[in-house]
């Protein structure tokens, strides 16, 4: 079984699609940071963060609240000065945001626009500030589903509409790199799906997207690359498929008594199995064996230790399972 080292950070990034195809690739990075750190007094918000994001991928940036995602994005955009570390965005050092920011579209910490101006006027202001063509503003409003509300004041928009307008603003000038901080905040399920489709569409244009979200199912559906951070430090950066263990099946095991979950995890791990702990079950990698055989062995181990299983079945890992296992320090 292939064991994933969650603490390793790839130093040579490659396009995820190419990796899937089994090719060795050499591309320049859209984002590369090394030892990026931000301290506020004695509090370290981002701690020696390192990752490498190839061009052309849609990357999910995930981590618990307060993990340092927004601060990292703010450092990438020149809003916050790093306390230490180096990095590049689109091949330009972080210290020169004036050079690369014009090629980056971003939405960070929510959409902040002028409440007295209409949606279209706000986009005109942004276009003027960035020296970008305002001719495609109607097209952008159409793209984010605000074509018929572009003439309404921003202050009258719902949170979801504000979010959409913020995304439209980020897409002005067809940027090479999109950095979106929680773009689905405030959106209803339909809105979320639209944003997901929008990101997927951007991905087909070979632009790079870095998107943070708490909604792991959203991330899972749209991202082919992942950067996972916890307490300001990278715990994984690489292809999403690798983080999830590819299509490798697992056996889902739920004891009758939830208190037995940790004991069961230790027993399976001691038996040499890779185990992910979720709040209510264990996901045990099948590896080279047969799922039915592994399930039987697990059942036997549990039975030998007097633990009754309430559930035993085959299941594929999803991002939430893997993420919770990583950030909650599960057993591998």
């Amino acid at each position: 079984m292939r064991t994933l080292d969650l603490h390793a950070t790839p130093t040579t990034a490659s396009a995820a699609a190419a990796i899937v195809a089994g090719m060795t690739t050499t591309t320049s990075s859209a984002i590369r940071v090394e030892g990026l750190t931000k301290s506020y007094g004695g509090r370290v918000a981002v701690d020696s963060l390192s990752f490498d994001l190839p061009r052309g991928v849609v990357a999910g940036f995930i981590g618990p609240n307060g993990a340092g995602k927004t601060t990292t994005m703010a450092m990438l955009l020149g809003l916050v000065e790093p306390s230490a570390g180096t990095g590049e965005v689109l091949g330009t050092p972080l210290a020169q945001p004036s050079t690369y920011v014009p090629q980056v579209g971003a939405l960070i910490e929510g959409p902040a626009l002028y409440p007295g101006l209409t949606g279209a006027e706000n986009l005109q202001v942004l276009a003027a500030m960035g020296g970008k063509d305002k001719a495609n503003i109607p097209e952008l409003l159409e793209l984010v589903g605000l074509a018929d509300r572009g003439g309404d004041r921003f202050g009258q928009y719902s949170l979801g509409m504000k979010q959409r307008l913020g995304i439209a603003g980020a897409m002005l000038g067809e940027p090479e790199l999109l950095i979106l901080d929680e773009p689905t905040n405030g959106l209803d399920p339909i809105g979320m799906r639209e944003i997901r489709e929008l990101i997927a569409r951007v991905a087909t244009e070979q632009r790079t997207v870095l998107v943070s979200s708490h909604l792991l199912t959203e991330i899972e559906q749209v991202c082919d690359w992942l950067v996972v951070i916890e307490r300001g430090t990278s715990v994984y950066a690489g292809p999403a498929g690798e983080f999830l263990g590819g299509a490798e099946p697992t056996v889902s095991v739920a004891p009758e008594r939830p208190a037995d979950l940790a004991t069961l995890a230790r027993l399976f791990a001691a038996d040499g199995r890779e185990v992910d702990i979720t709040p209510d079950r264990l996901l045990v990698a099948v590896g080279d064996g047969d799922a039915r055989t592994v399930a039987a062995q697990l059942n036997r181990v549990a039975h030998e230790h007097g633990i009754v299983l309430a559930e035993l079945g085959q299941r594929h890992r999803n991002l939430e399972d893997r993420y919770l296992n990583v950030v909650q320090g599960g057993i591998r």
């Binding site: 090719m23 703010a74 020149g78 002028y114 409440p115 970008k132």
Partner: protein, 287 residues
């Protein structure tokens, strides 16, 4: 395994329009200032203020006092002063003097709001040079106010001219070359007053990054502190920026000459701009 070099076909970003960051920031602010609602509101407000201030001033004008310019913004002008060539725009300058605290509060609020609303952050995502973002904004506001001041001066002159006969003011000297020159001088004084107020207000707004704190500090300083201390401390009119600006807009209202006031204010503005730029560059944009 074959090693293949993959160069993704990244879309070339649409090139930015020509023009420096300052010019782009100016254009962005100009879009906000020249939208129809803003223009209508400004036109309405300046008509009410200019016409109302002038009407009150001319109604309250006394018929006995030494001639010359308006003595103080809080004292009624005289019929003799209004008889002079510059009488047509004298009440406009007096009204501008009254507007000092209001103007300061509006400008501090406009700057601080960029931080409280987070729009400064949004603008930096389009134009990362912080000093240029603010420089262009302030330049656009000053340009807009210059137009507003000119219109206000015209409204004030027309109001004075219409009401002058009721107070027995002789307007024949208003429509002379001297009258035009006096009007131009009053306009130049008003512009210097606006520029000084805008630069100082920007510094306060940038340092405060909060509308209530910024406006509160500005009003307390420009109101009670400058006026109370300025009345009892003889160097006050020479050093307090608000009193120096009053000397510019209402010459003769303080013992300080216009030249001396302008020189000192220029120094203050250079220091204030430097402090604002340093604060903008050094502080993280976290809101």
């Amino acid at each position: 395994m074959t090693a293949i070099v993959v160069t993704p076909e990244t879309r070339a970003p649409v090139p930015a329009r020509p023009g420096g960051g300052l010019a782009r920031s100016f254009r962005a602010e100009w879009i906000k200032l020249t939208r129809r609602r803003m223009l209508t509101g400004t036109l309405l407000a300046l008509t009410v203020i200019a016409a109302g201030g002038t009407a009150i001033g001319i109604t309250a004008a006394r018929d006995t006092a030494p001639g010359g310019r308006v003595q103080s913004p809080d004292q009624p002008t005289t019929i003799a002063a209004l008889d002079h060539a510059g009488g047509g725009t004298a009440l406009f300058s007096q009204t501008m003097g009254f507007m000092q605290a209001f103007l300061l509060a509006v400008l501090v609020g406009a700057v601080a709001a960029e931080f409280t609303r987070g729009t400064f952050r949004t603008m930096l995502l389009q134009q990362p040079n912080r000093a240029r973002v603010f420089g262009g904004k302030i330049a656009a506001i000053v340009a807009f106010m210059a137009v507003a001041v000119l219109l206000g001066e015209i409204v004030s002159w027309l109001t004075s001219w219409a009401m002058a006969p009721s107070q027995g003011v002789d307007t024949t000297r208003w429509i002379t070359l001297d009258g035009l020159q006096a009007g131009a001088e009053d306009f130049a004084r008003a512009i210097a007053y606006v520029v000084g107020t805008a630069v100082l207000a920007s510094m306060v707004g940038i340092l405060a990054r909060s509308i209530p704190i910024g406006v509160g500090v500005a009003l307390v300083w420009a109101g009670p502190i400058e006026n109370i201390i300025g009345d009892s401390w003889s160097p006050g009119p020479k050093v307090f920026p608000g009193l120096l600006m009053r000397a510019v807009i209402n010459p003769g209202s303080t013992p300080v000459s216009t030249g001396q006031a302008l020189l000192t204010l220029t120094g203050y503005c250079i220091v204030a701009a430097a402090i604002a730029v340093i604060a903008l560059r050094r502080r993280d944009v976290t809101s």
